[in-house]
Assembly symmetry: C2
Homo-oligomer: 349 residues x 2
DNA sequence: TAGGGTTCTTGGAACGCTCCAATGCCTGAG
DNA sequence: CTCAGGCATTGGAGCGTTCCAAGAACCCTA
């Protein structure tokens, strides 16, 4: 069977829906239906059109679909510069999960960077004005984050990775239950025989940090263990952490739960300086399971966030929101998991 | 002055070019020209149209532009899953730079994930067929990478982060001069008084690894220092590296240049096991400046890749290629920089 | 055989923009 | 005063798709 000139292999530009229609002997609309509402076609017509589509290698042009349907099938994600000094935020794992789940649902992730020296809202506004995206995934949400309220006001679908810490809750989010993570860390340590379990956290006021502190506290209380004098705070810097943890060690803590791997590293350093060995003399648990944790000696036990699951949930929540703009907000709290390494061995004796 | 009903603040849908034209008393084409070829307009007309555009808050609809101009102003970037165990590839820094530079040029980054269990070409093919992107940035290029040839065959613009290691060079790329980095490491160590400088590299055959080994070798030769018996190889795993470095230490090396921070960490571990102190007893230099490097004790001297610059170059090269598809290929080799920390102090005595 | 309800298919318009070719206007030379 | 020639502006069409409403074909019943 000789191929007509408008076959895929022909060099004449891309195959359009109209070309397929002509070749299959149906109207353009029918080809469109074959793709979008196959149920409308008689089985034999559907079969014929589908075969023609395959033969010609037809793929619909996204821009034309976007223009007509007013939906770009794109999800915006604003990446922020990684603050130097911070331990790898491991955001690439999250991004990968996000991208993959979105792909499976026929969506893609559109990356944009907030230009330096801006409030950060401009990037979002631009993409909305240009009709470039259908919605947003926010990350790095924190107290006083204006984005949620701003997006909600404009009726733009969004989902946050990270809950809202203010009392006013806006929109959907997925987050990791930090309290549950530190709680599990305490459970683990108690199981090993520890009683003097200290907490090294961030300065008061950060939602994430307070949450992690709270989990430690409630687990301690549950076991009837004192928390007074066992709680220190430091910014997320290794040297600051080293200094901050000293009083806890002086007070005889046999284990330290830290709000981050960086803080845990501060503990390592403090212990080494007093000729003590992390893990052997004092147990240490970090938070985040950054790549560093596995490489340390001793390997750092740490609470791992289920970033892949968070990514999947974000996409799911966002799609649900786009499908039903007025549905009640949905919030998902995911369980982190404790990764046990050598920094938390059983107590000798 | 009362605002006409089709003002930005009016609730009636988005502002279109036609609405602006009507209000400004010009043809749609003139509004388009005001935006795209302002030189064509008489200054006073331009001024009037621009004012109207601002008043109405008009922004062109990307999909319509894309459809008409056949250019999506989108750059595809396929993210690969971070191989577990590997030290943070620090790809987020690169991605951020990429995104930011692209933004400044009116482009955006479209993320896509290769579905698991595929050769990796499918994602690219799909985006091309859908006319979703104007070009690609490739990363993680390696020997036997099919992507360049495949994309070149279809005439799709692309740029690689990472040169092609095979003899057949295809397309543009930007890369970091690894040899120059290890060369600089040797220079630094020689300057500190070291003579017995060993190299801990990856197994032969990886372009990147061989390149880094070569820099060490040439610097050693330049200084008349022997390289025989001073070169060991290991896969990029901390425990494998620890084992591999033993012979080098046994041979009396006073300094080790490693092809990665992970390998350098293997050195740390080997030294600690023989009761030696990294930095004090044997100097160690890593490669990549992963976040971990700064957090170790002693802080790891390491070769830092200029990821931001690479990101910028990638965008620049890609845009140039899109502007001139038949121009001769351009290749950019960027200089890494040595970050000196405590693992390379001056030799005592 | 005609009527009424499905089921399947179609034509035309529209989405919002930019391309192309053509128009009108103005200036200055013949 | 006319006409070439440059400049500023316009009209119409088209990019490739999907929406809408209407048309054709079909089947069953009266």
């Amino acid at each position: 069977m000789p191929r007509s000139p408008d076959t895929a292999s022909s060099k004449a530009g891309p195959v359009t829906l109209a070309m397929v229609a002509r070749r299959a002997g149906v109207s353009p609309q029918t080809v469109s239906n074959a793709l979008n509402s196959p149920g409308l076609l008689r089985p034999e017509t559907l079969e014929r059109v589908r075969r023609t589509i395959d033969e010609m290698g037809y793929r619909p042009h996204r821009a034309a679909q976007t223009l007509r349907t007013r939906s770009s099938k794109l999800i915006g994600y604003g990446i922020r510069p990684t603050p130097p000094g911070t331990l790898a935020p491991v955001m690439d794992r999250f991004l990968h999960a996000l991208s993959q789940t979105a792909d499976e649902a026929g969506y893609r992730i559109l990356l944009f960077a907030s230009p330096p020296g801006t409030t950060g809202l401009e990037g979002y506004e631009e993409l909305i004005d240009l009709h470039s995206v259908d919605g947003f995934v926010l990350s790095g949400t924190d107290r006083g984050d204006q984005r949620q309220a701003w997006l909600a006001k404009r009726g733009v679908p969004f989902v946050g990775f990270g809950r809202m810490w203010s009392s006013r809750q806006i929109g959907d989010w997925a987050d990791v239950d930090g309290a549950s993570g530190t709680d599990a860390a305490v459970e683990h340590l108690v199981g090993l025989g520890h009683r003097k379990i200290a907490f090294l956290g961030w300065p008061r006021g950060s939602g994430v940090g307070d949450d992690r502190a709270e989990g430690w506290q409630r687990a301690m209380r549950r076991h009837g263990l004192p928390v007074r004098g066992r709680h220190a705070r430091s910014v997320d810097d290794i040297e600051a952490a080293r200094a901050a943890v000293e009083p806890l060690l002086d007070a005889g803590a046999t284990a330290v739960v830290a709000a981050s791997d960086t803080l845990a590293l501060g503990c390592y350093r403090a212990l080494r300086e007093r000729q003590a060995v992390p893990g052997r003399d004092v147990a240490v648990v970090g938070f985040d399971d950054s790549p560093t944790a596995a490489l340390l000696s001793p390997g750092l036990s740490t609470v791992a966030q289920p970033l892949e699951a968070v990514g999947r949930e974000c996409v799911r929540l966002l799609l649900a929101r786009m499908a039903a703009p007025d549905a009640p907000p949905e919030r998902v709290l995911l369980e982190p998991s404790l990764v046990v390494r050598d920094s938390t061995p059983a107590l000798a004796g």
